[in-house]
């Protein structure tokens, strides 16, 4: 081998040879490690473990770290919120249902400030505020209308159903008579019966609305008729006044009597005691529903209105109607034969659009009654001061015994009472009173025990009205009863009763009932649900249940999966084939079927049964991964070496092969949690009935319940979906980060 020497090198070598220095090995060199024991030295660098190394790599992955911290916050919230938030999510608060989310106290144009724009709300023309519904409940209370009634933008709306509200406040419109699609017999719309005197002159005019009949062929064939109570010759009792036609216009008939008399079916009688006017609607044979719209009917007898007496209210009312809405309620006896509907169509009603503050409405004070037990509770809690010395306040009324006037005080002994009992045929107890037909209504009989002596005089204590409510300092802050409107206290002998009608402060009431955690107004940041529960707490309580389920299920699944996969992969052969087939069969059964089967078999479902279902098939993924790992490693040299040294199967499996897969196992455990949450939510969506947790609600159930209100109250599904998405995204990002950290070679690859 030839080495080309540079000039410099050559000179150095020459110099060395020139200087003639002789090397003395013992002098010039010494043994560095002479007599020292040589062995491996410790690394100067800090030792690192597999996990520390993975952590270092994980921290470098920024998105995963962010995901992990969001996840941490969410999990912490799931743990803390259900405990720290004292709002009750078990008791139903009917008043505070469906409050939208409220974050800001200032009016913000409807964004997260607890208000919303509503329109098409029926108004009560007398007050100018939204009207109560048919049951007298206010869906929109006047306290919630932002800006008062001046801010309500009113317009005319059309109502198509004869509800109480429409009948009260509406006007105009038409009465509609709709035949069913395919019925063939004739239908009638008939007025209240009245006396028809054929010798008099009747003028009838009616107006049918043509515009509402939609489409070709929808015009029904009708005829205006007089329905008599007498059998006509053809046996129907019907006198058609106008011929069957489809002519819609304002029609007047002036010679009603003459037309009836001219009818071939007319027999001798001159007066119909119970005659009615109305329409006959020809039965149809085609497949279209037909509706007759009647705007008004007017009947006049010699120029004066024809009347009847309302059987319920004893009022005298006119036959016929000029206003269909009013006519609908007074003309009570619309009736018809088979399969047809009488309704109200396009009644005009005032509707308003306004901004509604749901919180102001829910928290406004209202008039309400408190029962005796409520009052007792208030005394007990120290909200009210010492019981009233109520009997000293004064008698509200002094009643007298019939025939015997002793004003202002009356006093009767037991003997006298007995005598009166005998005289009037009464049976009075110690403190009872009774009115009979021979005693005038307002006169009430009192017995001795109802009479109290005040300042030497005997008073009949009937009802005491106590004016202001005496609240303690604590009561001022917390008592739901704020200002007494009336307090009544009755005392009859040993029997006492108290009742209180007062202005009730709702937010204090919510606190008193345990719905809310504080005695002041609360802003629900996720709003409230259909039962008035704080949805924020509902979501996180559900999340906690789901997380518990997820973590428990993934731990159990990992343990089973690892053991199963280890056995299957390590031993191979027939064991493997059988175990694989078993997995295939069990895994082939749809999860939802297994779930339903188990729920139906157990008869009910709870947390543990659901956990069992999740674990029944959930371990297969881990088993599969573990099996393939064992396939890869079981033939390696180190395993062979270990086996040669006499290691048992158990030792080989758990101490030599399994640790290789620790990263995979941790990652799959983390990724399994969102999978379980997802499965739980899916099942809750598909079979909400089959799955019900006692006590806590799962997140999936919360979501699927919120889904039901998506149209009217979308804020619930939005907030819970955002939490759900966050959880899923963060778990996935976190899991992927972990996977990359444990196995840097697969960085960025698909799962």
């Amino acid at each position: 081998m030839s080495i080309k020497k540079t000039k410099a090198q050559e000179t150095v070598i020459e110099n060395v040879s020139d200087s003639k220095i002789k090397f003395d090995a013992s002098k010039d060199f010494e043994y560095v490690q002479l007599d020292s024991s040589i062995h491996d030295q410790k690394f100067k660098t800090k030792p690192t473990t597999f996990l520390k190394d993975a952590l270092k790599r994980f921290v470098k992955n920024k998105s995963s770290v962010v995901a992990a911290s969001i996840l941490g916050v969410l999990i912490l919230m799931a743990i803390i919120v259900p405990v720290a938030d004292k709002n009750n999510i078990d008791a139903n608060n009917d008043i505070a249902t469906f409050l939208p989310p409220k974050w800001f106290n200032k009016y913000n144009g409807g964004f997260m400030d607890g208000t919303g724009k509503v329109s098409n709300v029926t108004l009560d023309p007398t007050t100018g505020y939204p009207a109560a519904d048919d049951n007298g409940n206010y869906k929109y209370r006047k306290e919630g209308v932002v800006g008062g009634k001046e801010a309500i933008v009113t317009s005319i709306g059309y109502a198509d159903s004869p509800t109480k509200v429409v009948l009260t406040y509406g006007q105009g419109g038409t009465v509609s008579l709709t035949t069913d699609k395919d019925h063939t017999s004739d239908t009638y719309i008939v007025s209240v019966p009245f006396q028809l005197d054929l010798s008099a002159n009747y003028d009838v005019s009616f107006k049918l609305n043509k515009d509402y009949c939609e489409g070709e062929g929808n015009y029904p064939e009708y005829s205006f008729c007089v329905f008599s109570d007498q059998k006509t010759k053809d046996g129907t009792g019907i006198f058609p006044i106008t011929p069957l036609s489809t002519e819609y216009d304002e029609i007047s008939v002036s010679d009603l009597s003459a037309k009836i008399q001219a009818d071939p079916n007319y027999s001798s009688s001159n007066t119909f005691e119970n005659a009615s006017i109305g329409f006959l609607l020809k039965g149809n044979v085609d497949d279209i529903k037909k509706t007759l719209y009647i705007s008004s009917i007017d009947i006049k007898k010699d120029g004066a209105p024809v009347t009847y007496i309302d059987s319920e209210t004893s009022e005298v009312k006119n036959i016929g109607f000029l206003d269909a809405t009013k006519g609908y309620s007074s003309w009570k006896q619309f009736y018809s034969l088979v399969d047809s509907t009488v309704g109200l169509y396009h009644s005009e009603i005032a509707v308003g659009a306004f901004t509604y503050d749901y919180y102001a409405a829910a928290y406004c004070n209202d008039e309400s009654d408190f029962t005796e037990s409520d009052l007792d509770k208030f005394f007990e809690l120290g909200y009210l001061e010492v019981p009233y010395e109520w009997y000293k306040v004064g008698a509200s009324s002094v009643s007298k015994f019939p025939g015997d006037v002793k004003t202002p005080a009356v006093y009767y002994t037991q003997e006298e009472c007995d005598a009166f009992n005998a005289q009037y045929g009464l049976s009075l107890g110690d403190y009872g009173y009774k009115t009979t037909s021979d005693i005038k209504e307002e006169e009430v009989l009192y017995t001795s025990s109802e009479l109290y002596q005040i300042a030497g005089e005997y008073w009949v204590i009937d009802t005491l009205e106590v004016a202001p409510l005496k609240l303690t300092e604590k009561g001022e802050r917390m008592c739901p009863a704020e200002k007494a409107l009336s307090v009544t206290m009755n005392k009859f002998g040993s029997f006492e009763s108290k009742s209180l009608t007062c202005e009730r402060s709702r937010y204090k009431y919510f606190y008193y009932m345990g719905y809310t955690s504080s005695c002041s107004k609360i802003n629900y940041i996720f709003g409230t649900d259909s039962q008035g529960h704080d949805f924020f707490k509902v979501v996180f309580a559900g999340l906690l249940t789901s997380l518990e389920l997820g973590i428990l299920a993934s731990v159990i699944n990992i343990v089973i999966g690892v053991v199963w996969g280890a056995i299957s992969g390590y031993f191979g052969g027939w064991v493997d084939v059988l175990m694989e087939r078993f997995c295939e069969i069990l895994g082939g059964m749809p999860f939802i079927v297994l779930m339903t089967l188990i729920v139906l078999l157990f008869g009910k479902s709870n947390f543990w049964i659901f956990l069992f279902c999740l674990c029944l098939t959930g371990w297969m993924g881990t088993a599969h991964v573990t099996r393939s790992q064992f396939y890869r490693y079981r033939g390696r040299e180190y395993v062979l070496a270990s086996r040669t040294l006499g290691a048992s199967d158990w030792r080989l499996i758990f101490l030599h092969i399994l640790p290789n897969g620790i990263g995979t196992i941790v990652t799959s455990a983390v990724l399994m949690i969102p999978g379980v949450i997802f499965s739980e939510a899916s099942i809750s969506y598909l079979l909400p009935g089959a799955l019900s947790f006692q006590g806590a609600t799962s997140f999936g159930l919360t979501l699927s319940t919120a889904q039901g209100f998506i149209q009217l109250y979308p804020y619930m599904i939005v907030s819970s979906s955002i939490v759900m998405s966050l959880i899923m995204i963060c778990f996935n990002l976190f899991g992927n980060g972990l996977r990359d950290a444990f196995n840097p070679t697969t960085k960025g690859a698909a799962i």
Partner: protein, 354 residues
């Protein structure tokens, strides 16, 4: 190769058979839901069950009749007509019912009749009526999502570690993680309730006569089905393509003078398609099963919502047919995926011993 395919097919049939048998036996252990209503409907139900061989009708001519009359044996249902003597209906043992069920399928291809959903109709005809809706929906979404997904994946891979890639990857991550029902909810709020652009329910037959309405009905379901699979395809394509792009043979292709575009199209793409094509095929078979939640939430009359309804109303015949379809599709999908690996990538040989 053919031997392997046949072997796999045989195994598939055996597995399907075992799964269905197990499910049938388990379902038969559950309480029977007799249709509510008139007596004739109940008697009709039992008559059908007798005809299918699941129940026994006991009348006077039988010896055992006396012990039912005296009450020594109890029957599931006693039908006492106004004239004549009562008739008893007794359920047969589970295994007898199972063999009768098998016999009906094998000899007559009779999978039983519906007892709740549409009483008296054969279960298979109900399924056949519902299957096309699910299939149509899923095929449409597949046609949209495959090119979109692969295209996005390629785009992201070519712009690796640039802004485009980051945006696509983030979106992919979001759409993979967000559950389908959340997606449907947001789509409903946005498109149906918010803008009122589409109907919030699958159009009814009358509504669907208007083709615009019918077409609009597809928007939400197709979007809901697409987003997930687009994200899946995009992620897979990006990962595969990135791996191939960093391999040595691509460097070779560039060094021999190919442009970047040529190298990507001719070498990288083809190789990265190896795991993606089976994925598409697998999904194509798998999509027939549809999405139960989507069908449930949007009121689509497909087999998914049918399955849930059948399960909740305990219409077991329909459940069984539906399950048979799901099981078969699931197993077929795995088989097709396994086989397609061998077709797409010649290096992989089917059934080769290790």
């Amino acid at each position: 190769m053919w031997k392997y395919v046949l072997k796999r097919l045989g195994l598939l049939l055996i597995t399907t058979f075992i799964i269905l048998s197990l499910t049938y036996i388990l379902l038969q252990c559950l309480p029977v839901e007799v249709p509510r209503g008139s007596k004739t409907a109940i008697v009709e139900f039992y008559q059908t069950q007798v005809a299918l061989g699941y129940y026994q009708r006991i009348d006077e001519s039988m010896d055992i009749y006396k012990s039912y009359i005296t009450g020594n044996l109890t029957a599931d249902y006693k039908f006492a007509p106004q004239t004549g003597s009562p008739v008893f209906y007794v359920s047969l043992p589970v295994m007898v019912r199972y063999f009768n069920w098998l016999k009906n399928i094998v000899t007559k291809w009779d999978w039983g009749t519906s007892t709740q959903i549409s009483i008296g109709q054969s279960a298979i005809s109900i399924i056949m009526r519902k299957l096309p809706v699910s299939m149509k929906l899923n095929i449409i979404s597949m046609i949209i999502s495959v090119p979109c997904g692969i295209g996005l994946g390629i785009w992201a891979a070519l712009k690796k570690n640039k802004m485009t890639d980051h945006i696509i990857s983030t979106l992919v991550m979001v759409f993979i993680s967000v559950p389908s029902f959340v997606l449907i909810s947001f789509l409903l709020i946005w498109l149906a309730y918010g803008t009122g652009f589409v109907n919030y329910q699958w159009p009814t037959i009358q509504q669907a006569q208007n083709w615009v309405v019918a077409l609009k009905g597809y928007i939400i379901p197709v979007m809901a089905l697409c987003f997930g699979s687009i994200a899946g395809f995009a992620r897979y394509t990006r990962a595969e393509l990135c791996e191939v792009m960093s391999s040595e043979f691509l460097l070779l292709a560039r060094t021999k003078g190919l442009t970047r575009g040529q190298a990507v199209v001719k070498h990288a793409l083809r190789n990265s398609m190896v795991p993606i094509v089976p994925m598409i095929i697998g999904e194509f078979v798998g999509i027939l099963s549809g999405s139960m939640i989507l069908e449930q939430l949007y009121g689509i009359p497909g087999i998914g919502s049918l399955f849930v309804t059948a399960l909740t109303t305990k219409d077991y015949s329909v459940v069984m047919v539906d399950m048979a379809i799901y099981t078969l599709i699931g197993l077929l999908a795995t088989l097709v995926v396994d086989l397609s690996y061998g077709i797409v990538d010649p290096r992989i040989r089917m059934g080769a011993s290790k």
